[in-house]
């Protein structure tokens, strides 16, 4: 079978978000299907940012595939004019693995949620990450089951009062980034629906990473869990509570950038810059350091009394071979060593006899 191998067109200008190389615009990526999320849902913004950045990658639409599971987030592929599959609960990761294993040239995106990706599909998520297929996972986290109308999810805070937990939830929640790092994910990042610029940047970084990109996106469910992330996403409090990490830059937050984080050995500490510490004393973020990435994503929960901010950005980016490349290499090696298989020889096997 001949399948057209996509040619990545060089991006002319990344700052121009609608007009781009190759003539495609964000409108070309809208499927024309009526979008059916609840009015005010955070998913609208994520879809918009995705449609905005897609033309900038310079790939033809037919070489992009979005695969989703089940849940509100999983309607996503219907609204993009690419190839897409709205599959079954929790399995988008496994479906994407099979597709990428046999069509490595495609740009494969997995759209999932906190329930789909970490509860029913948690197993596959871990295995996808350790295999490091070159695919992109967008995990919309709203800390609630929306489509089934309001039960707690594996990322819901302890004691969450929901339809299924009228007396409060008992489950200790997952920290999705820690989960991804624990499974040896090679790209672990977090963004939010209500910061389009940051989200676009993170989507681009996900695309550029060679390996499984795990991008957790805070997404407001205004029906069943409204405001779950407002302390990090809303203008008046965002600077105080959210830390946007950038590679090679000191960790600074606060309305006036007046706070920083210092790292004493493995112990992080919030410092106020005017109290004697300067920018030079702060922790400089190094995306390539998986140990420090673990500290970043866990500091808030491990040291609850210190009021650490909630981190966003790329926590870790490492390199490891991609499964689909290794898989093809084994085949190429086998052919190099044994020659291309001859079907008649194979069917006949090692020992035959003839009856006349």
């Amino acid at each position: 079978m001949k399948i057209k191998v996509p040619v990545k067109r060089p991006a002319k200008s990344e700052s121009d978000q609608t007009q781009h190389n190759g003539g495609l615009t964000s409108k070309d990526f809208a499927s024309g299907q009526e979008v059916r999320w609840c009015p005010g849902c955070g998913d609208y913004s994520i879809l918009k940012q995705m449609q905005t950045v897609l033309p900038q990658f310079g790939i033809d639409k037919e070489n992009i595939v979005f695969i989703s599971g089940i849940g509100c987030s999983s309607r996503f592929p219907y609204y993009l004019e690419t190839f897409g599959m709205h599959s079954i609960h929790g399995r988008a990761t496994a479906i994407a693995s099979g597709l990428k294993a046999t069509r490595p040239e495609l740009s494969v995106w997995i759209v999932t949620g906190d329930g789909d990706g970490l509860s029913i599909g948690g197993n596959h998520m871990a295995h996808l990450l350790r295999r490091n297929f070159d695919v992109n996972v967008l995990l919309f986290n709203n800390e609630i089951y929306g489509l089934t109308k309001g039960q707690y999810s594996p990322t819901s805070k302890l004691d969450s009062i929901t339809k299924s937990t009228p007396l409060g939830s008992l489950d200790h929640p997952f920290n999705p980034s820690a989960f991804a790092l624990g499974a040896d994910g090679t790209f672990v990042a977090r963004s939010m629906d209500r910061d389009p610029k940051h989200l676009q940047e993170m989507l681009k970084r996900s695309y550029e990473h060679k390996g499984t990109s795990f991008l957790e996106i805070y997404q407001n469910c205004n029906i069943f869990n409204d405001g779950a992330f407002f302390s990090y996403t809303e203008k008046d409090v965002k600077k105080q509570n959210a830390l946007f990490v950038e590679h090679g830059k000191p960790m600074v937050f606060g309305h006036e950038d007046e706070y920083g984080i210092k790292l004493n050995g493995t112990m992080p500490e919030v410092v106020k810059l005017e109290n004697g510490d300067s920018m030079d004393d702060l922790w400089i973020h190094d995306e390539r350091d998986p140990i420090k990435a673990n500290i970043i994503i866990r500091m808030e929960s491990i040291y609850p009394k210190q009021n650490f901010p909630r981190p966003f950005g790329v926590f870790y980016e490492g390199q490891r071979p991609n499964y689909e490349i290794l898989m093809q290499a084994q085949i190429n090696n086998a052919i190099a060593q044994k020659g291309k298989g001859d079907l008649d020889v194979l069917i006949a096997g090692n020992e035959t006899w003839t009856i006349k």
Partner: protein, 613 residues
Amino acid sequence: MSHIIEEKQNVVIKFAGDSGDGMQLVGTQFTNNTASVGHDLGTFPDFPAEIRAPQGTLPGVSGFQIHFGSTEIYTPGDTYDVLVAMNAAALKSNLGNVRQGGILILNTAGFDPRNLKLSGYVTNPLDEDQLSTYLVYKIDITKLTREALLDIELGVRDKDRSKNMFVLGFIYWLYNRKPENTIQFIERRFKNNPEVKNANIKALKAGYNYGDITEAFSSRFKVKPAKMAPGTYRSITGNPALALGLIAAAQKTGLQLFYGTYPITPASDVLHELAKHKNFGVKTFQAEDEIAAICSVIGTAFGGNLGVTGTSGPGVALKAEAMGLAVMLELPLVVLNIQRAGPSTGLPTKTEQSDLLQAVYGRNGECPMPVLAASTPSSCFDIAYEAVKMAVEHMTPVMVLSDGYIANGAEPWKFPKAADLKDIDVRIVRSKESEEKFMPYLRNENLVRQWAVPGTQGLEHRIGGLEKEDITGNVSYDPDNHQKMVKLREEKIERIADFIPEQTIDSGKDKGKVLVLGWGSTFGAIKSAVTELIEEGFEVSHAHLKYIKPLPKNLGKLISQFDQVLIPEINNGQLIKLIRDKYLIDAKGFHKIKGTPITKNELKEEILRVYQL
């Protein structure tokens, strides 16, 4: 020493010992040797689920049964002419199946007080006259093997592991065979371990020579080659045959073969076989679980590749939801079910045909899928090939049923030439055919949609598990559309009946008193029983189903020509439900659910009982 050579037509040998005694290896080697001298044969390996079951006990007995001869062989045989028992437990669990006057070759070292106690013998059967109706050869195989290996630098434990080769050598002598193929096998297998290699070859030769120089054995046996159709043959077991059929189909279609699976008895050998043939471009993927296995296959099928997953009943249960997705997506893929005894974990290494209804009905919603059944080890090749053809030509997942008996049993196979394999029509759309928007659920005259794969410009579309609108494939909650789509999906599968051959009678006339209707691994037993009854003058016929969904179009007419229809199955009555439901006839069932194949003799009795009705 000269020995009388007696000629035999057919022989059944059972090798039995502890699961660590290497009986499966002895059986496989003897099978290959038997095939290479031109006998027809059938085998039945029978082993415990545990890798090293408790030594010396009855549940720990591992056996390999082979039936070979100069006539056509359809089963591994009902009773044994020769039993090789490496210990007391092996004798105790098999003696009931040895024919009166049969040969017992007993390893006396396996009848020490400990073995006797573990196997529940109160007195030593070697000392009693309870074996007086058999021809008994008592050989201290353990001691003789150790003596033969005196000058080999190996520990006693390692030396004792060669005693299976002593047995094999002796049997080669007894049946007048040359042991060369096994010597070559040992040389290949232990090429990096010269001591073990030498020990095995020495033990093999010692066993052979032992027969030659010992006066105790007055006769050797000779079996003439079978009168088989001219051609080139090889020996094959069911699982490798499935693997070869899949590779053949991939080569024929030019599609990339992707086998996503999770290890499970008795299906894993399909994976092992495919993994050996990467130079055919085969991609094998050991997924994290059964669900991931079939989902990876759905992903690869969406990408325009040949996706196959293989498992056994418990795995099929886990895959059910994903099979439903494949039915909804109308993507081609193949699901292999190498059945074993259930329910739940059941008897993992024992055979059963109890997943037929699961195959036909076992998914949520109205979820039709074609079901094909292999009947013998070599038929697995054709079934796998045909399943791929059906899947890609009709854009549907296809279920293939085999079972542990077929998977592990061996038979001679007159294999086909690659060039003679049927053509397969792949419906991938290579480019956009018109200016209009691509309609993913537009169907041809056989109700088959097109296979539009990523990478094809202008064919971008979204599919999913939600109900599809006819033609457009858009999500639809319309009640009339749902009814229409349910009917369309069913009709699409039923129309496959137009593309499969009509059902034929395998043995006997096309009308008569009793039709024995079978499917799957009961083929050999039914064929043998019916053939004998016909020779004895009974009006009995045998038809064997390969296509279970859809059923062949003429089946109703075919079965109406008989007074009685008897359906023997290794389950509690499953095909019989489908036949009664579809044709409203009072079919009779015969159900054996013991984890073992139906034997010819018990089936003959049952056919005669129905004959009297």
